[in-house]
Symmetry: C2
Subunit: 698 residues, 2 copies
């Protein structure tokens, strides 16, 4: 795939399927392109000599060379057209035509072929089933939508063309501008990751925003977005968040609904700010595109109205921000400059008779405070206050201090002009103070993303070959599950297990027991029996002299309760002192979009009833593994709450990292559960194991 | 206190402190009153003959009798003026003048006197420190704000005058109308509860909304709001939700910050819809004032745009609503009337080329479905769709079916006219579909409030006198805490306790132990020692022969570890089989606003680390007590999760009800904790008890 910049900055654009027929998409695009595009437009249509006054070519061969081709021909002709485009040496294509994978089996086959052609000719294809693309710096509107975008620094992709149409109409009214706009369509070739990369490289894109219904290659997306979000904020609405929504999304675009939990953690690990609604998407985008990042999350509130000041403070309390504590100097200045009845502590209430000058003075003093990262100006209309003048003072004061400021000049008509001026200078203004604060919150959260420490996954010294041998056992026997007979696999990756082994006759069982100090634990070894305790398949505290009989008993039970299960023998295991220990669960399953999803939780009720678990997409570094532990509500139990001896949390964190390495090294491991991993003061021990293997990936 | 209706429907209004001085509050109010008020306005000012062309009176005695007096005289003259008003027989007064409890000790004293005068003359006083009152049906604007309200059916109270000013300016632009508006000021006499009652009785108030920073008499408010919300929805922003906000609120109006947990549960028990932001307040109010209630929470979504349809579905998923499942008949009709590419399942996607007629047809079919309670119309702009016409069809179809419909005709300028028409007919329209859905959600939540079953608290047969005797012990000895020596108190209210008693010598201890089957539990009895185990003050499984020595040992330990604690003796108690039991905690503390706040949770980590508790304001009936149990995340543990025998949940529920009765009968009980109340398959047993008594309330 070549550079994408030519897609957004072409000198010449062909419209293949151009027409002057009223109401036709081919006319709409030609008209949109003709108005304002800096480059040359080349209509292609074998049945016309001219279209809308432009010379029309029969095919691409006869036409001048173009940088970008917009394809609007009927579905059955699209593939042939793409081949012609490829032959003509054009790299960038937008397929507007619908009737591909969104329409059923035949269309899906057509889309598969489209992908092949794109690969053969190395084509950058947007779509099919796309509304088109826009790029305001060159005045290009290659869409068939009714609205053009205003110029701006937000680049915008959407998996729904209608969403773009709706947003542009509204954004023009709101004076929100865009740089590039892409309707992703079916994403058969170019997808979200490509545009994240492209816009990440574009110095003139200040914010990347998107509406997505799925993310095809989650792992790749996370990698790309992680890198880009160091420099450029990414704000996404990923719809299908709820069960109902996911169902609707899958019937809309045929998107495979991945797990919402995987999206949530994947997007978070990628450094994406996730918006839950259209309003939030643009409230965030407005703040991020207009304002500098704060140096801290500490906010000052300046208001002439007590009640709205309290509401603003509540909104700060709801967010990731905090109310700033003023320096003594600030309090002193405020005491001197504000009336006696004013409240000089945060929120600063400069009371109802405040004029513009007093507002400016208070804001100036607050922004000068080194403890203040940003400010909110909140006002109710009064006889002594002119919003237009207040807006000027706020703009001027904000620029002087270089700190972000948002506003809630509350009111209707009387606030509109001020609001427009404020927004022109990058300052969001809303009637509801909570929305203004939410913009500041986006800035602070993005600042945290930028400043996040990123530790590369540790590479532990492990025995890969040993694991491969164990996994390959599944190829020579029925079923693809492995159980406690494969505990060596954990040892090979440095996750401790108790002494013991799986044996297949009672005499050997006794030998193993005798080699272990004290009584032993015995468990039936059968990958098909996952709930061993339920069928009496576990015996705890067996003295050596009873091991032989216990073996026979366990095997008999297994045969009686689950006659179809393959019994591999019995595990004889050292009995741990677990009084001072906590049972934890470490697991992994593969998400269709994001790949290996690690899970950590405390055992028993904590996972099953309280659903207190944390997840991350592997591979992860130490700090993320530690977050998985610290992120549990029940984390204090591991750290020694209620007089318990603290567990060796470092050992837990290391086990999670080692598991991360294991599942990254072996894509053949589909699912894996260590349950429990017992964590005590002196380290951890994996007591039980079950995993599923994809033999085709070995 | 007389009827409040005259406050809002006076024939004559006096403005005491009327003036024509530019910029004066007395002039602003007179001007506002003079424009549009249906009744007579009577200026009062000893220094003028006429004010703004109206005859002015020297005092109220010489003026004609008035129904309502607005007081704007200086603070030091307010009390005298109120007496004059009382003498003149006027019942309703609005004190605009500030300088009372919000300004310090002197002001607070003045406010106390104001309250006394009001009581003496039976005056309905709004304020002091109020912006004034409005009532649109009689065209009365008795405020000094710059804006008048449009006529409507929403009655609005606010503890912040500036909030009213801000809202009115905005609401006029948004064409939101009001019936009565009250600036509550310092709430020295009339407070939120009075207006909830008044508007609940007013057939022309469709919705009551309010901005509150505190609720003075929580218990009374809950009672009043509970009754009113059966007929009229109440939507409140109670600010100071967050710690930061509560701090700001208390410095703003001097409101005592009650516990947010108490407000949350109190407002919920009162049937109040709580809004978290200004936007939510008015989104809810708009829907509740304009639309009928749905018969079910099942929603149909009709859209021409797949993506926005998915976003709408997510918003439904986030709310208390559900996506409706269509009846076969509906699916059949949709199949016949919609194009093949349409999605006829909910959300109905009638695809991009839908015209107004197709929209109307789909909406009509959806609303005709008996499974559909309400609908959302979501559209993106297209060439074939005229929003103005679509609005007409939506209005007409909605009215025909009598079901609530909300809209998100997405767009900017092109949506404005349609939006205005829709809103005129009660249909909220927003750019963001999530806001439209939030309006429907308010309707469905209010419907649930209306339909809620209300069981009166059960009155158990109890021994009140016995409890009074026990509580009175605190009057004859130092300290106001009672402990296990008072377990009889629980027995008197039918909460079971194990056999045993507190004795004050080792011989008696042995006698008690011998009267009990098996070994006993012994605990030091001292109200000052709350963590008995920590000092070794508990002995479990003591055989009868060791009881004597154990007694001596316990007392010695108590003396050594906490020499200042009064030791009342030792409790000798039956030892329970608690293997199959679960420890729970049942407690109560008194909230300054809402009174007795009951708490229930599971013992140990569940309360201390997971903070998994439920609270309710007492008194409560059986269903609320049951909700307290079922509402815990860990509730499945009591119900027999993970192979445990289920606890006797009925006995737990009954104990909570009995405690509710106890703390309601005895306001002298300030705090009480039963920890643990052990719940097993055969019932409950209270094992430990501590309570604090307010001896002045005995």
């Amino acid at each position: 795939m070549g550079r994408l910049s030519e897609l957004f900055e072409p000198d010449t654009v062909a419209v293949v399927g151009a027409t002057d027929r009223e109401g036709a998409v081919g006319r709409a695009i030609l008209e949109n392109l003709s108005s304002g595009f800096a480059g040359e437009v080349v209509p292609v249509n074998p049945n016309r000599d001219t279209v809308l006054g432009l010379e029309c070519y029969a095919d691409l061969e006869s036409a001048p060379a173009v940088d970008l081709a917009i394809v609007i021909v009927p579905p059955l002709v699209v593939l042939e057209t793409l081949r012609e485009i490829g032959e003509a040496g054009t790299e960038n294509v937008v397929v507007i035509t619908a009737g591909f994978s969104e329409t059923g089996v035949e269309g899906a086959e057509r889309e598969r072929e489209l992908r092949e052609i794109a690969e053969t000719y190395d084509l950058n294809v947007v779509g099919p089933n796309s509304l088109g693309v826009m790029s305001t710096p060159v005045g290009m509107n290659a869409t068939f939508g009714p609205e053009n975008a205003r110029e701006g620094s937000i680049s915008f992709m959407s998996q729904s063309g209608a969403f773009i149409t709706a947003v542009l109409d509204w954004a023009n009214e709101q004076k929100i501008g865009f740089r590039d706009v892409v309707s992703l369509g079916n994403k058969s070739v170019l997808e979200e990751t490509d545009f994240v990369r492209e816009w990440g490289d574009d110095p003139d894109t200040d914010v990347i925003i998107g509406y997505l219904e799925d993310i095809d290659a989650g792992e790749e997306f996370v990698r790309a977005a992680r890198a880009v979000s160091d420099e450029t904020p990414i704000v996404l609405v990923k719809s299908g968040r709820t069960d109902a929504g996911a169902h609707a999304a899958s019937s809309h675009t045929g998107a495979i609904a991945g797990s919402e939990r995987a999206y949530e953690t994947g997007l978070q690990q990628a450094g994406v700010l996730r918006a839950e609604s259209v309003q939030e998407l643009f409230d965030y985008a407005r703040a991020l595109s207009g304002l500098p990042l704060p140096e801290s999350g500490d906010v000052a509130v300046v208001t002439n109205a007590g009640g709205p000041g309290v509401l603003t403070t509540d909104a700060v309390g709801d967010s990731s921000l905090e109310m700033a504590s003023f320096a003594d100097e600030t309090l002193k200045t405020l005491t001197e400059s504000m009336p006696e009845e004013a409240n000089i502590y945060n929120p600063i209430d400069i009371i109802g008779d405040a004029d513009v000058e007093r507002f400016g003075q208070a804001l100036d003093t607050a922004l000068a405070d080194p403890n203040v990262g940003s400010a909110v100006v909140v006002s109710a209309p009064t006889a002594v206050l002119t919003y237009d003048k207040l807006a000027e003072v706020v703009i001027e004061t904000r620029e002087r201090h270089g700190k972000p400021v948002v506003a809630s000049m509350m009111g209707g008509d009387r606030a509109r002009a001020a609001e427009e001026v404020l927004r022109e200078f990058g300052i969001p203004n809303y009637f509801d103070p909570a929305r203004a604060v939410s913009g500041l919150d986006a800035l602070a959260r993005y600042r945290a993303i930028r400043n996040r420490s990123r530790d590369e996954p540790t590479t532990f010294d492990v025995d890969r070959e040993r694991v491969r041998e164990i996994l390959e056992r599944t190829t020579s026997r029925p079923g693809n599950r492995l159980g406690i007979e494969s505990m060596d696999l954990l040892e090979a990756y440095g996750i401790p297990t108790p002494a013991g082994s799986v044996v297949d006759d009672p005499k050997k069982a006794r030998d193993v027991a005798e080699s272990i100090d004290g009584d032993v634990v015995m468990k039936i070894a059968s990958p098909e029996i996952s709930h061993k305790s339920d069928i009496g398949g576990v015996k705890v505290g067996v003295p050596d002299e009873n091991v032989y009989d216990a073996y026979e008993d366990l095997v008999t039970r297994a045969r009686n309760y689950q006659p179809d299960a393959r019994v591999l023998g019995v595990q004889v295991q050292e009995m741990l002192e677990i009084d001072e220990s906590t049972e934890t669960i470490v697991g992994m399953n593969r998400d269709p979009q994001f790949g290996p999803l690690l899970l950590f939780g405390l055992g028993g009720i904590f996972v099953e009833i309280l659903e207190d678990t944390s997840v991350r997409v592997a591979p992860i570094g130490e700090s993320e593994a530690r977050e998985m532990v610290d992120g549990l509500t029940a984390a204090p139990l591991l750290a020694g709450a209620r007089g318990r001896e603290p567990a060796d949390i470092d050992a837990v964190v290391e086990s999670i990292q080692r598991l991360s390495q294991l599942v990254s090294d072996f894509p053949a491991i589909l699912e894996l559960d260590i349950n429990p991993l017992v964590a005590g003061p002196d380290g951890v021990q994996a007591i039980d194991l079950v995993l599923t293997v994809d033999t085709e990936k070995l």
